[in-house]
Structure formats: C-alpha cells, structure tokens
C-alpha cells in the first residue's frame, strides 16, 4: 500500500471521526474504524506528526491537535453542526468554523481580564463584534512550541 495514501487515509479518518462524534478518536478507535492493525495506524500518526499535519500528546502519543481541532479542552469553544469543539487558540477556533462551513458560535474570553466574548458566524462571515486578535509569537517561530503560540 502506498505510504502517503495510507497516511492520508488515517488523517481523513481522524478528522471524520472527530467531527462526527465531537470527540477525539483514540488510535484504537481509528484502527477499529479503518479495520487496520493498531501498530500501522500508530506509525501513520507518528509520520503525520513528523510532517506537522497533526500534533500528538508527548507521552501517550494520542492526538493532541488535529488542527484546527484540539483534543483537549481549551478556553476557545465552538458550537457547529450541533456539537461542541475546542480550538487551541482563537485562530484555530475560527478555523473550525471555516473547516466545518456552517453557522457557528465561538465562545471565548478576553485574554487579559477574562470578560466573556462571543463571536457569531452567519452565512460564512462573523457578525460585527468588538475585539482584536493578538499573535504573540512571530510566524517563523510557531513550530518551536506549537502549544504556546
């Protein structure tokens, strides 16, 4: 089997299961969903992570980020397609809205004072809202520590 093709199949299965259930699939879930050996799926996940297509948790090697989706709860929550999803940052949370192509609500809060801030998307555009997005890390350094951007 072509390596890229299999890795891409694993990537697509990961996203589809994640979006369909609203929960990050484990590598066992993915292997079961694809009818493939767990070791093959884990190896594919490692290659996808090495290629920066996804991010794995440091110890368990389960999914941490299938960007823009976060497998762990964050302060950036999106309601789309009747389910809740988390983004690792506000940019990723907006990315969830873009990826799922649906009307959505993004719940967040001010990074400074914690005041609740929400964005509503209709017909593929955000409704006018107060706020700014701050990128603290210069673009070329994003992958030095992708958890802190």
């Amino acid at each position: 089997m072509n390596g890229f093709s299999f890795d891409n199949d694993v990537r697509l299965q990961l996203y589809r299961q994640f979006v369909a259930s609203g929960e990050p699939p484990t590598s066992e879930n993915l292997a079961a969903g694809m009818g493939r050996p767990l070791a093959e799926v884990r190896a594919a996940l490692e290659r996808l992570a090495a290629g920066k297509a996804i991010v794995l948790q440091p110890e368990s090697r389960e999914i941490l980020m299938a960007n823009p989706l976060s497998a762990v709860p964050t302060p950036f929550r999106v309601r789309s397609q009747g389910r809740w999803f988390f983004g690792s940052c506000v940019w990723d949370a907006m990315g969830i809205v873009a990826m799922l192509g649906d009307e959505a609500v993004l719940d967040a809060s001010c990074g400074c004072c914690g005041e609740a801030m929400g964005l509503t998307f209709r017909a593929g555009e955000p409704l006018p809202a107060e706020g700014v997005v701050h990128f603290a890390i210069a673009a070329r350094r994003w992958w030095e520590n992708i958890v802190f951007t």
Binding site: W91, I96, G111, R140
Partner: protein, 71 residues
C-alpha cells in the same frame, strides 16, 4: 493567539506576562486568515502547504513584514 476586548487589554496582558507586543489583527483579518488556512483541511487532497505557498497566502492577506516572515 488570544482574543482581547481591545488594544489596551493587549497592552495590559503584555505587561502582566512580560511579553513583547506581537501583531494585532482585527476580527475580520483573523477570520480571513483562518478561512484561508483551514477551510480545506478535510479535503482528501489536502497537503501541508509549502513555505512559498504559505508566504503567498500571507502576502495575499496583507500579512507582510518581519513578524510574518517565515524564513
């Protein structure tokens, strides 16, 4: 990348966490960047963009200058 109520909140956060101020985008600019970056992520043909493709994408959104330089 964090969301703030306004520039003064960003300034306060930078002092509080000893961070230099980075780049500020409007909600609309951030949305356009997110859409360009992620809207096709579930397409079977998706692949990670090359450096040159990413540079062109950022430039098309007006994200130029040292902060957005990828090299």
């Amino acid at each position: 990348m964090l969301l703030f109520r306004g520039e003064e909140h960003v300034a306060r956060w930078c002092v509080q966490w000893s961070q230099a101020r980075g780049a500020l985008l409007t909600i609309d600019q951030a949305w356009r960047l997110a859409r360009a970056w992620y809207q096709n992520k579930m397409d079977p043909a998706w692949r990670r963009p090359t450096l040159e493709e990413t540079e062109r994408l950022m430039a098309s959104l007006g994200l130029t200058g040292p902060f957005w330089n990828l090299r």
